[in-house]
Assembly symmetry: C2
DNA sequence: ATAAAGAACGAACGATCGTTCGTTATGGAA
DNA sequence: TTCCATAACGAACGATCGTTCGTTCTTTAT
């Protein structure tokens, strides 16, 4: 319950805005009682990050593996990813986009945990892209890392447009960008 | 001098990490003496944001207007924008990428100032893209807002890759993505 | 030279931060 | 029922936050 509320607060106000006192007041318990479960704020932050990762996995990755066997997963994965933003799974926008920006200039276990999870997701993506290349759904000699780079950019742009401008057209713009990225078979390959 | 140092600190540790005491200690002056110039932290934050905007303008926009007359500015603008990330103009990565993420969930004059500046830049971009369409350097019926969306995504991805992973290949990945985005004349248009 | 104006200062304010301590209540195992 | 680990608590800690106040010092103008 503490972690659930922590994920909400952290996604809306940042992992730094997740203060012990604020969280305890929200839940109607004492600061010391809350901290007793974790020992330090850092441990709490990491627990919140791990919980957010589970939510992300169930709301994005798990949605794409439901596709029928043999159907390419990459488009489904992208659509799930876009839909994850559209559905406002986290009240303050993508938890990891915000957390990565907040902690990219720091050092310590919190940043390490964050980077570790981001790397896992990156690897998932690259694997999917590689599989798409093998299945000839993407041009041969496609550089998976380049596609990963551009996909992340599309999703960051989507999150940015939604959170800063409240642009309800942004999801469709993201779909269009993904379409263009994934259906380049008719154009030249992307090195 | 206060603002100069403030921009550095804010870009490295966020606009919230820009505390009066910290800034005063860095400069060897007193908190009250520092605050006397602004009146409140909010005013200081906005002053810092405006200063960052000036730096951004001189390091990105002004670099592209130097191109000879008649030469399309859009590619030069994109290259200047990528180079701005590559040169680490701000010690903590793109000031506005960080600030926008930090303040997108809040309300008040600081967020308003930020959104205002971002909108100015967006409009600049859209105007350049529109000009490129008129000059037939982009396919007719190109939607400028779609190109703006994707360009912002590329730059956010670049910033992300540099700050989170220290990926020195990221600038070239961004160049590749921009190339693909701006040289779609041979493929189908982008709606 | 003198008066007015503004900058910088030290000190203190209440608030909140993360954390520690000792105590009280609770609930399952013996 | 007794015992013990654990959960929750209130209180307090030192630190730092943004801000205010009154005083000193350095200008600038008269």
């Amino acid at each position: 319950m503490i972690i659930t509320r922590g994920v909400e607060v952290a996604s809306a106000e940042g992992l730094a805005g997740l203060t012990i006192g604020r969280l305890a007041a929200d839940l109607g318990i004492s600061k010391s009682g809350l901290l007793g479960h974790f020992g330090s704020k850092e441990v709490l932050q990491i627990a919140v990050i791990d919980a957010a990762a589970q939510i992300f996995a169930s709301e994005v990755a798990d949605r794409a593996v439901d596709t029928a066997y043999g159907v390419p997963q990459l488009p489904a994965l992208c659509e799930a990813w876009i839909s994850y933003h559209e559905r406002n799974v986290f009240p303050g926008g993508c938890f990891f986009a915000a957390a990565a920006t907040e902690f990219d200039g720091r050092v310590g276990p919190v940043r390490d945990a964050l980077v570790g999870l981001l790397t896992l997701w990156r690897n998932d993506l690259r694997r999917q892209i590689h599989a798409a290349v093998v299945a000839a759904e993407l041009p041969m000699h496609t550089d998976p890392d380049q596609v990963v780079f551009e996909l992340i950019g599309i999703m960051l742009a989507l999150n940015h447009a939604l959170q800063v401008y409240g642009d309800s057209n942004a999801p469709d713009r993201a779909r269009q960008a993904v379409n263009r990225l994934l259906s380049m078979g008719l154009c030249k390959g992307i090195a």
